[in-house]
């Protein structure tokens, strides 16, 4: 329907049907994912302050070295998956990266010893798991109808038009990974200390959503 949604591709790297490309839009998103991943690498977590209700007492939460290492690893994995989703030109790869973002988001808070955070992570995990059904089904319908999963082919308009249901399923799958209205459990996860890692949870969902907006407008 609309040509060159994200701008003219600046760089295309082809591996047969698989490809990676940068447009002004995707390079903006990629650079932001890269910036925050570097921040995860070089930042130390904050000491979150909790105030006792009804009194003057407060305490600072400390993050142990082993917990910090695990959470930093998961946050970097999340950043890498997000970067992959930003630059891939293949719809199936995009869905794989999206599913990986969902898993790593649970991993980022899995080591936090707080019942609230653990409950929220479990509930978010269930929603994200359920969301993979429309996510992969959407990609399957794309492949079945167009015979290709290449975004460049969709951009060229040389393949049959993608049905609205496929676009809807792909969008629903991504929204289920942590966008409104399925983000209630995810917001509770942000109670967890460790700001540089927790931020990756919200950043990854947002960037994936921004990318899928571009994808559903192709073809």
């Amino acid at each position: 329907m609309i040509d060159l949604i994200g701008g003219v591709p600046l760089f295309v790297l082809e591996f047969g049907d698989e490809l990676v490309y940068f447009t002004p839009y995707t390079i903006t998103l990629f650079l932001l994912a890269l910036t925050f991943t570097v921040l995860v690498l070089i930042s130390r977590p904050e000491k979150q302050i909790d105030i006792a209700f009804g009194g003057d007492a407060y305490r600072a939460k400390e993050i142990s070295i082993s917990e910090m290492r695990f959470r930093r690893f998961m946050a970097i994995a999340c950043g890498l998956a997000t970067m992959g989703a930003m630059v891939t030109g293949d719809i199936f790869n995009f869905t794989l990266f999206t599913a990986m973002v969902g898993i790593t988001n649970v991993g980022i808070v899995a080591a936090v010893k707080s019942p609230h955070v653990q409950d929220a992570a479990y509930q978010y995990g269930l929603v994200a798991l359920a969301a993979t059904v429309p996510l992969f089904a959407g990609a399957a319908v794309y492949a079945a109808v167009t015979g290709s999963l290449s975004m460049i082919e969709l951009m060229k308009g040389t393949v049959p038009a993608v049905p609205l249901i496929a676009k809807g399923m792909l969008m629903l799958g991504v929204i289920g990974e942590g966008m409104a209205p399925f983000y209630a459990a995810k917001a509770e996860m942000f109670r967890a200390p460790g700001a540089p890692y927790v931020i990756m949870c919200s950043l990854s969902s947002l960037l994936i959503f921004l990318r899928v907006v571009e994808i559903v407008m192709l073809g």
């Binding site: 998103l29 921040l39 130390r44 409104a180 983000y183 209630a184 700001a195 931020i199 960037l207 959503f209």
Partner: protein
């Protein structure tokens, strides 16, 4: 020489846009005060704030994550500077709106990085108010259906031929206006800066870091209002663009002055209702324009 000259021009444009954005925020405060029968601060108060914070003592709290605490300020200024240049070069609307959504992450980073409970809840509220961004993308989809492009330059050309999108796609303009309203201070959706959270996500950022945040707010206000006018009115000369922005600030100030701040639950509920309405509208537009 040419490149140096154009580089100087670009920096001058950026500085002027920031100062004008801060002036608009000051006007917003003044108008709200006058509507509520208070004297209010002078219109240049936000510029004074920015200058005052630039020379205040600066610190990083002991509990903060220092790199993130400082990094988000630079990222905030960086993303809105990028949005400004995309705007003046007539680039992709999608990039600007992507940056608009990423501002949520910056607010989240501001809030969480300090370790303060007030900042943390401001940051969490910022994330849950992400529902306000969905109508924005529905508006963008409607614009794309009409203009078949998301390039600002093409959208403005379309309006020169077919008339303003404000008339053609009035509900989309209303939805985008609501999105801008959700970003204005003292508005019904300003739950991230509610008084029970002191200053919300920016509670602990002081001195030069707060001055950086003020610069970001000025630039953000300028960009959002200019994008609205470019997308729904079309190409305007500079004096008319500035007049249009002032008129929009008057409208926003009235909306903020006469509506109380909602609870986080009500704020998100209303934003989700608007999203539902906009999805219905977008479906109708799609069926009518491209049957």
């Amino acid at each position: 020489m040419t490149s140096r000259s154009s580089g100087t021009d670009m920096i001058a444009e950026l500085v002027l846009a920031t100062l004008f954005g801060l002036l608009l925020l000051g006007l917003h405060r003044k108008l709200i005060a006058r509507i509520q029968r208070r004297p209010g601060p002078p219109v240049w108060q936000e510029i004074l704030h920015m200058l005052k914070f630039s020379f205040k003592t600066t610190w990083i709290p002991k509990t903060a994550s220092p790199v993130l605490f400082v990094g988000v300020v630079l990222i905030a200024i960086g993303i809105w500077t990028a949005a400004f240049y995309v705007l003046i070069s007539g680039g992709s609307l999608l990039v600007i709106l992507g940056i608009y959504m990423l501002h949520k992450i910056v607010e989240h980073g501001f809030g969480l990085s300090s370790g303060s409970p007030y900042g943390k809840y401001g940051g969490v509220r910022s994330v849950i108010s992400a529902a306000s961004e969905i109508p924005l993308f529905v508006s963008v989809a409607v614009i794309a259906v009409y203009t078949r492009s998301l390039d600002l330059s093409v959208i403005m050309q379309y309006q020169q031929v077919h008339g303003p999108l404000l008339i053609i796609a009035f509900p989309a303009a209303c939805a985008m206006f609501l999105v801008i309203l959700s970003k204005m201070p003292f508005g019904p959706f300003s739950i991230v800066e509610a008084k029970e959270l002191v200053s919300g996500y920016k509670t602990e950022h002081f001195g030069i870091w707060r001055a950086g945040l003020e610069i970001c707010n000025g630039l953000k206000t300028f960009v959002l209002l200019a994008v609205f006018l470019a997308v729904f009115i079309g190409l305007l000369s500079l004096p008319w663009l500035l007049v249009g922005m002032i008129l929009m600030i008057v409208l926003l100030a009235f909306a903020c002055a006469v509506t109380p701040m909602m609870s986080p639950f009500d704020s998100v509920t209303i934003q989700m209702l608007v999203t539902g309405l906009m999805l219905g509208y977008a479906a109708v537009v799609l069926m009518v324009v491209h049957p």
